[in-house]
C-alpha cells in the first residue's frame, strides 16, 4: 500500500510529538491485550493435562464439565479447584491458569468472609474484590474492553451519520440545509437521559444482553452525530466553493464522485482530529449512565458500575481508587493522543520566538 506523501508527513510529525505518540502506543497495547484478554484474565484454564490428553478450554467450542476431568458435577469445570485437586492427589495431571485466574462475572465467595475483600497477592485478587466477590482487576480489564469497543462503535456510527448528513446539507444547501438545521436544532434539545429511560422500559423481558447494549449504543449515537454534522456542513460549504470542485464538475464528475473524491478527502483533518475527543466523550457518557444505573445491563463489567459501588462503599477504598486511577489514566492518554493528532494535522500552530 502506498501512502500519500502528505499523510506520511503527518504521520512522521505525529511520531515526533512524543507525548501523544507514546500515549497512543500505550493505549493500543492495552486495547490489544484486552482483545485477547481471555488468555490473560479468565477463570478458564489455558491448558489442562488430564490422563495424558491436553485440553485447551479457552479454545474449546463448548465447555468441559466437571465430569470430563473425573469430578462429580455436570456444570462447567471449576479450573482453580481442579488445579488444587490435582496437586492434592499428586497426579501427573496439571492445569495452567491465566495470569489472573478470575472471570469478570465470577463470584469468588469464600466461607466466613464477606466481600468486598481487600487486594491479596496470595489469592491473585490483585486489586481486591467488589461487593459480589468479583475480581476488581478482571472487571476493570473487561470493563475497559467493553468501554473501548463501545466507544469505537459509538465514534464510527455517529461519524457516519454526522458526515453523511453534514455533507449532504453543505453540498445541496437550500431547503435541505434549512430543514436539516431545524431538525438538528430540535433533535439536540431532547434530553438523552429521557430516551435512555424510555428505551429501557420498552425492552421486552426476554431481550438478550447484546440487544440491550446495541440499543443503548444506537440511542447514544442518535444524539452524538449532531456536532459532527455541523462541522462537516461548514467544511463542505467551504470546499464546495473552491475552484477545483467547479472544475471537476465542468469535467463531468457526478455528485458522488465530487463528494467522495474531492470534498471528503479534504475534510478528513476535521474528522481525524475529532476522533479522540469523541471516543473520550463516549467513554465518559457510558460511565455516567452506568453510574446512574441506566447503562449496560447487569452483570456486564463496567467502570460506571464499579464507580457506583466504590462511592457506596467508601470503607472499601480499593474499588473506587483503582477505578478512578484507571479511568483518569485512560482518558488522559486519549486526550494526549487527540492533542497530538490535531497538532500533526496543523503544523502552522506552532512557532516559538526565542
Amino acid at each position: 500500500m502506498r501512502l500519500n506523501p502528505l499523510t506520511v508527513k503527518k504521520l512522521k510529525r505525529f511520531r515526533s510529538i512524543r507525548r501523544g505518540y507514546w500515549s497512543l502506543i500505550i493505549l493500543g497495547v492495552f486495547f490489544a491485550l484486552t482483545l485477547c484478554g481471555e488468555l490473560l484474565v479468565n477463570n478458564k484454564a489455558l491448558l489442562v493435562s488430564y490422563d495424558g490428553h491436553w485440553h485447551f478450554p479457552i479454545f474449546h467450542s463448548g465447555i468441559y464439565t466437571g465430569e470430563d476431568f473425573g469430578l462429580d458435577y455436570k456444570s462447567e469445570a471449576r479450573y482453580r479447584e481442579l488445579d488444587d485437586f490435582f496437586e492434592r492427589i499428586g497426579s501427573d495431571n496439571f492445569v495452567i491458569m491465566p495470569l489472573v485466574p478470575y472471570g469478570p462475572l465470577e463470584q469468588d465467595f469464600r466461607a466466613g468472609e464477606y466481600p468486598p475483600n481487600p487486594p491479596s497477592f496470595e489469592r491473585q485478587h490483585y486489586l481486591g474484590t467488589d461487593s459480589l466477590a468479583r475480581d476488581v482487576l478482571a472487571r476493570l480489564f473487561y470493563g475497559f474492553r467493553v468501554a473501548m469497543l463501545f466507544s469505537l462503535a459509538f465514534v464510527a456510527i455517529s461519524f457516519a451519520i454526522g458526515i453523511a448528513t453534514g455533507c449532504a446539507m453543505g453540498y445541496f444547501g437550500g431547503i435541505t440545509d434549512l430543514a436539516g438545521q431545524r431538525f438538528m436544532e430540535i433533535w439536540s434539545n431532547i434530553p438523552l437521559l429521557y430516551l435512555v429511560i424510555i428505551m429501557r422500559s420498552l425492552m421486552p423481558a426476554g431481550a438478550s444482553t447484546t440487544m440491550r447494549i446495541t440499543t443503548l449504543l444506537l440511542i447514544m449515537c442518535a444524539f452524538s452525530w449532531v456536532g459532527m454534522a455541523y462541522l462537516m456542513r461548514t467544511a463542505t460549504y467551504r470546499e464546495k466553493a473552491r475552484e477545483y470542485v467547479d472544475a471537476s464538475r465542468v469535467l463531468g464528475a457526478g455528485t458522488f464522485r465530487i463528494l467522495f473524491k474531492h470534498i471528503l478527502p479534504n475534510t478528513v483533518s476535521i474528522v481525524v482530529t475529532f476522533i479522540p475527543f469523541m471516543a473520550a466523550s463516549g467513554i465518559t457518557a457510558l460511565t455516567a449512565l452506568d453510574f446512574l444505573g441506566f447503562g449496560l445491563p447487569p452483570p456486564t463489567p463496567s467502570w460506571g458500575e464499579l464507580l457506583e459501588q466504590g462511592t457506596q462503599r467508601m470503607d472499601a477504598p480499593w474499588i473506587v481508587t483503582s477505578t478512578f486511577v484507571v479511568m483518569v489514566t485512560v482518558l488522559t492518554l486519549v486526550a494526549f493522543v487527540g492533542e497530538a493528532i490535531r497538532e500533526a494535522y496543523d503544523p502552522r500552530k506552532f512557532s516559538t520566538y526565542q
Partner: protein, 352 residues
C-alpha cells in the same frame, strides 16, 4: 445581516414547537408514566401501609375502567396526545406553564425557586473558569512543550476525566465531615437566610462582604465539582488559538520589526486569539441552567439540574416540559448571540 438575525429570531418559535411536540409525543408513548405510577401507588395502598386495612390486600385493587379513566383524566391522558399538546401550547401562549402533577404547584414557581441558586453557580463557574483558563492557556501557548505545559495538561485532562459527581462525594466526606473545614449543607449561613444581596448592603449590621464570604464558603466545594471538568476545553481552545496567532505572519512581522515579544503578544496576538473564546461565550447562557443534578443531589442544592432530573424520573411531565421549554429557548438564544458576537468581533464574517 439584520435580516439574517431577524429571520433567526423568527425561527425560534417553530423550533421550540418542534422540540416540545417531540418530547410530548415521546412522553405519551412511554409504557410507564404518571398513570401507572398512580395505579402502582394505589395498589401499594393495598399492599403496604394503611395499617390494618391492608389485611385484605388487593381485594379492592381491581378498579373499574371508568375509575381508571377518571384517573387518566387527572393527567390529561383522557385526550389524544395531539389534543393534549394543543392545550398545553395554548396555556403556554398565555404564560401558563401548568401545574406539577406531583406537587400541584405552578411549574413556573418551581422553576423560579431554583433560579437564584442556579444562576449563582452558573455565573460563578463561568467567571472562575474564564479567569483561570485564559491566563493558563496563554502561558501554555507561550511555553509550549515545556514541563509546565505538560504538567498542566495532565492536570487539566485528569480534571476532565474525573467525574464531578464522584469528586463531590469524596470532597464532602473528607473536607466537610472529616476535617470540618466546610459546611455540610446549605447555600448560605443561617444568619443571612432570607436576605437578598440588596438588603444586606442596605443593612449596616450585616456587612455585604461577610455575606459574600459566607456564600463562597458554602459554595466552595460544589463549585470545585462544577468546574473541574470545564477547564480542559477552554484552556486548550485558548492555547490553540493563541498558538495559531503566534504563528501568523503579522506576528512574525511585528517581532521581525523588532517589537518586543511580550508587547507583540499583548498588542496583537492576544486580542485576535480571544475571538474564538468570545464566540463561545453565547453558549454559556444555557449553562446557567444546566447544573449537574448529581452534584446538586450530593450537596443538597435545589437547582435546575435536579429539578429537571427529578421531573423525568417522577414522570412529572408539566415540569419536564417547562424545564425543556426554558432550556431550549436559552440555548437557541445563546446560539444566536454567539453568531452575533462572531459578526461583531470579526468583520470579515457575513451572515446571509
Amino acid at each position: 445581516m439584520r435580516d439574517y438575525f431577524i429571520r433567526r429570531f423568527l425561527l425560534i418559535p417553530p423550533t421550540i414547537i418542534g422540540i416540545t411536540i417531540l418530547v410530548f409525543f415521546i412522553a405519551r408513548i412511554m409504557p410507564g408514566g404518571p398513570l401507572e405510577q398512580a395505579l402502582m401507588q394505589g395498589q401499594m395502598i393495598q399492599q403496604m401501609g394503611e395499617g390494618r386495612q391492608s389485611a385484605r390486600l388487593g381485594e379492592g385493587s381491581n378498579i373499574t375502567s371508568r375509575q381508571r379513566e377518571q384517573l387518566a383524566a387527572l393527567y390529561g391522558y383522557d385526550k389524544p396526545w395531539y389534543a393534549a399538546y394543543a392545550d398545553w401550547l395554548g396555556d403556554v401562549a398565555q404564560g401558563d406553564l401548568g401545574k406539577s402533577f406531583r406537587y400541584q404547584i405552578p411549574v413556573w414557581q418551581m422553576i423560579r425557586d431554583c433560579l437564584p441558586v442556579s444562576i449563582y453557580y452558573g455565573l460563578a463557574t463561568l467567571f472562575i473558569t474564564y479567569g483561570v483558563c485564559i491566563p493558563l492557556g496563554i502561558v501554555k501557548a507561550i511555553r509550549h512543550r515545556t514541563w509546565m505545559d505538560t504538567t498542566s495538561s495532565i492536570l487539566v485532562f485528569a480534571g476532565y476525566a474525573i467525574p464531578g459527581y464522584v469528586l463531590g462525594a469524596l470532597l464532602l466526606l473528607y473536607f466537610s465531615f472529616d476535617l470540618e473545614w466546610f459546611p455540610k449543607r446549605g447555600f448560605i449561613g443561617e444568619d443571612f437566610e432570607g436576605m437578598t444581596l440588596w438588603s444586606a448592603i442596605a443593612d449596616p449590621d450585616v456587612s455585604a462582604l461577610r455575606m459574600m464570604g459566607s456564600l463562597l464558603w458554602h459554595s466552595a466545594l460544589p463549585l470545585c465539582c462544577y468546574m473541574v471538568g470545564s477547564f480542559a476545553v477552554l484552556t486548550m481552545l485558548m492555547k490553540n488559538s493563541l498558538m495559531d496567532n503566534l504563528a501568523a505572519d503579522y506576528m512574525r512581522t511585528a517581532v521581525g520589526k523588532g517589537m518586543e515579544f511580550r508587547k507583540a503578544v499583548v498588542k496583537h496576538a492576544l486580542r485576535n486569539s480571544l475571538i474564538p473564546i468570545a464566540t463561545g461565550f453565547g453558549n454559556n447562557i444555557s449553562l446557567f441552567l444546566t447544573g449537574s443534578f448529581l452534584i446538586e443531589k450530593i450537596f443538597n442544592i435545589n437547582g435546575f439540574g435536579l429539578l429537571g432530573f427529578n421531573s423525568v424520573v417522577d414522570y412529572d411531565y408539566p415540569v419536564v416540559m417547562g424545564v425543556l421549554l426554558l432550556s431550549s429557548i436559552l440555548l437557541l438564544l445563546g446560539n444566536i448571540l454567539s453568531d452575533m458576537l462572531v459578526a461583531a468581533v470579526d468583520p470579515r464574517i457575513r451572515f446571509k
